[in-house]
Symmetry: C2
Subunit: 128 residues, 2 copies
Amino acid sequence: MIVRRTRQLVAVLSAVRAERDHPSAQAIYERVRRDIPTISRGTVYRNLSKLEGERQVRSFRLADGPVLYDGVVNNHDHFVCERCGSITDLEGASATHESHRQLSSAGYLIERQTATYYGLCPDCGAQD
Amino acid sequence: MIVRRTRQLVAVLSAVRAERDHPSAQAIYERVRRDIPTISRGTVYRNLSKLEGERQVRSFRLADGPVLYDGVVNNHDHFVCERCGSITDLEGASATHESHRQLSSAGYLIERQTATYYGLCPDCGAQD
DNA sequence: CTTTCTGCAAACTCTTTGCACTCGT
DNA sequence: ACGAGTGCAAAGAGTTTGCAGAAAG
């Protein structure tokens, strides 16, 4: 099954890449509607799945809330501020994990990983 | 608000601890129903929230599917086999993260973290 | 022209909540 | 007794899907 370059698919990818943030499907839907007001949520979800399958976007879920998408597809971690909700990208994957060593020596094959840190960002931490 | 030790609360905690696995609310509901057939899903969800607030259980979400609960509350990571779906606990948190250092020196306060690895477990990896 | 994709709406999964009643303390 | 907890059922959030028509290659 060949993936067709429809306007909708292109627009969804642009919307994810438009800002270096972590939009939900709903937020992406709202962005795309500025260009294609008739697009449906279903199309947004279907195209996000395709793009994720092609590794053009990544997704992750926090402790609660919807799936979040990321146009930055390299292997990086996230920090979530529990007060203001901001999500910060951490450059560079957590490659020095003790867990990593543990898994490899036990015969596990790691294909991908996601780490999320929760706490207070510098601004919110300073407010106490 | 004082937390009361109801039969339901006790039974939900026992159900999470019954096996060293990672049951969903639905699986916990089914376990508890063996003892208390009249318990409702709503009560299971409410008690799981209370127990998580008291740090008697932990929860996490994978790439998809419902929230999973864990009676092992120390800080540990998980490995998910993408073929058989098994979830393995990794002993010891990933404390040597480069990300950890990065965050601390930038003024972030880390309160908790979760890391999940996806790949193939030894059994499934050997089948190729 | 054929096949994939779209918009729509309904369905689905998981979780939360309002209410009247019950039970722990 | 009184307030926290319960069962029920309805509602809510987020996502998926069947279908008939549209459009990409």
